[in-house]
Subunit: 416 residues, 2 copies
Amino acid sequence: MNCEVVAIGTELLLGQIVDTNSSFIGEQLAMAGIDSHHQTKVGDNHDRMVAVLRQALGRSDAVICCGGLGPTQDDITRSAIAEVMGVELVRNETIAERISAMFSGRGRPMPQNNLLQADVPEGALINPAMPGTAPGLICPLTGEHNGKVIYAVPGVPWEMKQMMAAGVLPDLQRRSGFTGVIRSRTLRTWGQSESGLAEQLDEEIRRLDVTGDATIAFLASGWEGLKVRITCKAASDPEADTALDREEEIVRRIIGDIVFGIDDDSMESVVLQLLRERGRTLAVAESLTGGLIGSRLTGVSGSSDVFRGGITPYDRELKRSLLGCPDVPAVSEEMAVAMARGVCRALGADSGLAVTGVAGPAPLEGNEPGDVWIAVHYDDETESRFLKMPFDRERIRQFTCIQSLNLLRTRILASS
Amino acid sequence: MNCEVVAIGTELLLGQIVDTNSSFIGEQLAMAGIDSHHQTKVGDNHDRMVAVLRQALGRSDAVICCGGLGPTQDDITRSAIAEVMGVELVRNETIAERISAMFSGRGRPMPQNNLLQADVPEGALINPAMPGTAPGLICPLTGEHNGKVIYAVPGVPWEMKQMMAAGVLPDLQRRSGFTGVIRSRTLRTWGQSESGLAEQLDEEIRRLDVTGDATIAFLASGWEGLKVRITCKAASDPEADTALDREEEIVRRIIGDIVFGIDDDSMESVVLQLLRERGRTLAVAESLTGGLIGSRLTGVSGSSDVFRGGITPYDRELKRSLLGCPDVPAVSEEMAVAMARGVCRALGADSGLAVTGVAGPAPLEGNEPGDVWIAVHYDDETESRFLKMPFDRERIRQFTCIQSLNLLRTRILASS
């Protein structure tokens, strides 16, 4: 089974929007075990779109079209697919009523154009998910391309994602002759290289090659760490869950506490949750990162029950006046430790995190760019680390942020 | 002239990396007035790559291949192009020496594989920019595709960008028969909708359609505002600069002070520079944004001469204890004003910026998510604004950040 992706929209070609949809769809297909050898971007032009679709059907079993399902003149995906199918567009009254109902539900008048979204190629099936006013299409082909299929999903990411899960992937799996379910779980890790992880898991991956219980894939995600994705095929959802649980346990036993969370967890959401479970509060003192750590923590809904706040003593003198730090070098272990303790005191928190360092591009007081001290204060003890990073300003700051949160995470776990 | 883009790499198809290179190249081509109707992603597979290249040459005058120029077995762009050209790979000794010299300059032994990067298709020219060990290629075609050209650039973004500017775009322009220079300038704007801007500039755009002095394009960039790009063609660089200056002045006269900067300026770099020129210092008090504003300010190199630091009084009680705010509702004009003044006092800054609001998803003390008060303190006066944003948590925080920086910017400009 072989499926390619066609992303539609002149704005994609002009670079006004980066095409993240194709990447998402490619990842989903890979997870579902479906090959995808080509992804194409084409503009809002009927003839070119028809040509690209025909070409794709010439080399693949299925094509997912993303975008061009809106109500304006630019949105020509429906008619391009109809031409490839050799059929006319016909009004789907159920969809038309649903679109009208969506507008009246919001108390807004419906522009007549919106009903064009209910005109679908004759013979097309409708994707069971329809979160917006654009229906997703499942278009079986006959004639020259008999047995192949074109899917159409909107370019709006959250609409596309719902339709992929509800209609496209299940239909692809059915067509590929697989009748069970495929489920994945992603373990988020921090602190190990891709080759190091691959080495640690080498034996387990070989074992799985033989047993077929699961597959393991790595996904390097820069300063978000390395993702380890476990995928299991099973006859039913509960069986798949059991298989995932079992494999997760095996992998965790091998790679240990570098796993900080699963799926949608982030380092900051995990740290907040660990503190919440222990009834702790947190304050941060950020020199180098200037608020980045606080910003990430407060990006998590409900962080306010744990996070008391932060102080950014960017000017050196403020380290003394706001945090009571002694007169030691700005980038030093003593300073990081004093900042972590000081911010707990100043903000009335029982846990503290502090960073101080050089973001570059110039050296500072004998320290090179990328020289960073981090400290965490927890359970009346303060722990510190020196980091040396050969990176640019942005990466130095981002890696410092995640490293310091991870230090706090391991510190909490070590004391419980 | 018509040029398409082929991005090479299985990791792109699997969604492990989002293909931002094609978007960048598409934007550069659009700016240079070169049509680009297709962009394709293909994996590290020789036959499929050759097929995609032949297909692209069948419909376009030029093809830019991005990626697959590294020294490993996966990197097959060179040999795929050689097959399409109908030639062999030959060792380019100049490039081989340059690669060896790069390694010895860094005091590192050179893996022999790296010399494979010096094997280029016979007849290929080398891109004048070579920032890494991968040479960029300019490959003129003969025979069936006579007069057409394939460019190869690395997938590493900064290498690709240098090669686009130094070799690819000039060669494309020469081939398109244009002997002059094409230059662009981007005006960064904040505070006007795309349709509003288009309406304001409608008459000027029509005038330019007739005179051909310049072209104007809009680029919506979410919470980074709207970009207005002016492009001029001229016989020489100085003439192009003069034409850009003239058109920039006309556009600024029409759209006024919503223009906050040009090209690589950001809202935060502009605000820092305005304060720097006036010998001022800045402190921020961030409740809602939790450090995001400080993080963006300190992301700019050299911010430390202006930015003294920040306080994030996320817990309500800290607004009083750290900033001396009175007992007023947390999300109110009085609170924002008191925070802006208080942070100036606490941090010894003469300019202050404060935000307080509800990021959601739940309402807070009678305020809906997206209800935000911002205040700026400058020249001993405090100014405030109420924002109401129908957005999600992330966008509420990001829009608040840029709105508050923009309020400070207009406040500074109004008093000088």
